[in-house]
Symmetry: C2
Subunit: 247 residues, 2 copies
């Protein structure tokens, strides 16, 4: 689009709250071992010990976000009252005020942060640097029993390495709604691996998010027909020039 | 025990954080329509619209807690960053400082609060006043599409009224881990009703809570063998005298 001199714009940020809420849900589903208990209910069983032996409180655990843009920050704010040890890795430190508010500590080096984490949340875009970032070697260096939440992009993980680590128990739980490829084929191994709490790619598509998309599109159409500019943060390409965050 | 002049004590408050975390998980599971998406995954399907048409953000919704003791207060603190409209009903108003911190508004009359709520969380003990509190008539006065979380006691609900309202859609989702009776028999209708996210009674039995029980019991045994009193809040009956909160 840039080469062709076009303009591309989006209703930016319209579903970041939706995704952050969904990440916190997934953290709790894994930490509390929700699904095995629910499966007991629907299959006529009652075995509290069979759930509780691997159910934990979130309180006191170390949670690290890999990438801390808009979604990561909203997640940290929502995690704050759970009294966790919060860590974040990003290219840049966040605003000191927000760091103080959330109590999250900056980790410059990813491989120094990961072994400290009981729970890792992936909030980084898919780029050539992050593709396959969680491969066999990196997963092996994480804590045994780590829980992983990934609503970012499926290809940030090495698919088979996740399957193997969930099967061995090195990863104690994996939840997300992103897959490689999408839609996930019927035989995608993440459908069948143990201790997964996966969904199809829905975290950013709540009715509330859809209302925001719709209102934002209408606003941009109104501006377009009046010959006005869009809000600056909405541009991906403006008349052939790529927005700064994509350069 | 009181009539027999005995002492009964518990490790009080040892699982209130565990239960409050679990309640927030259940709110999100219902609001986000998690389970239908997960069932798609395990049955080889991919249908985003089939989940999203009834998935919402928690942000902006009205959440009311019926009863606001230790667990209710911990829940409100954890809900605070989600930018909801928070309401609570109890016999007494909470500490003004905590009211300010959570932004929760006191509702003196239960039946005035309930129709305002998108989500109702039950945090009241089972007493002769609360047994069957949520019967057909009371549920009918709640919002169509209300979500209910109940980790308190199963008998606070009229079992069949909940089944009927989940079937009609008046209750859009019901999640909890308490049943009447417990263990729930194989044919308990809550196992089979639509839009349920039930588990066996596990919310207060995390490994972390078990560690607190164990340490608290050891502490009380140590005190007992030294002839010392227990922490005052641990007594249910002390030498035949019922503790004030149970009178």
């Amino acid at each position: 689009a840039a080469a062709a001199g076009l303009t591309v714009a989006e209703v930016t940020g319209s579903n970041v709250v939706s995704v952050a809420e969904d990440e916190l849900m997934r953290i709790l589903i894994l930490v509390r071992n929700f699904l095995p208990g629910h499966h007991q209910v629907i299959s006529g069983e009652w075995n509290v010990a069979g759930v509780a032996y691997r159910a934990y409180d979130l309180e006191g655990k170390t949670v690290g976000t890999v990438g801390c843009g808009r979604i990561g920050k909203l997640l940290l704010q929502r995690l704050k009252p759970f009294n966790c040890n919060l860590l974040y890795h990003d290219r840049v430190k966040m605003d000191p005020q927000l760091e103080k508010e959330t109590g999250a500590k900056f980790e410059e080096d990813l491989d120094t942060m990961l072994p400290k984490c009981d729970i890792v949340v992936v909030n980084t875009p898919l780029t050539e640097k992050t593709r396959g970032m969680f491969d066999k070697d990196r997963i092996a260096k994480m804590k045994k029993g780590v829980l992983i939440v990934n609503n970012a992009r499926g290809a940030i993980m090495d698919t088979q390495a996740v399957v193997d680590a969930c099967s061995s128990g090195h990863i104690a739980g994996y939840s997300g709604d992103v897959w490689n490829p999408q839609p996930a084929p019927k035989d995608h191994p993440w459908r069948y691996m143990p201790n997964q709490a996966m969904t199809p790619h829905v975290s950013g598509t709540t009715i509330d998010a859809q209302l925001r998309y719709a209102a934002g599109v209408k606003d941009m159409l109104d501006r377009y027909f009046k010959g006005e500019d869009f809000p600056v943060q909405n541009y991906i390409v403006k008349a052939g020039e790529l927005a700064p965050q994509y350069r």
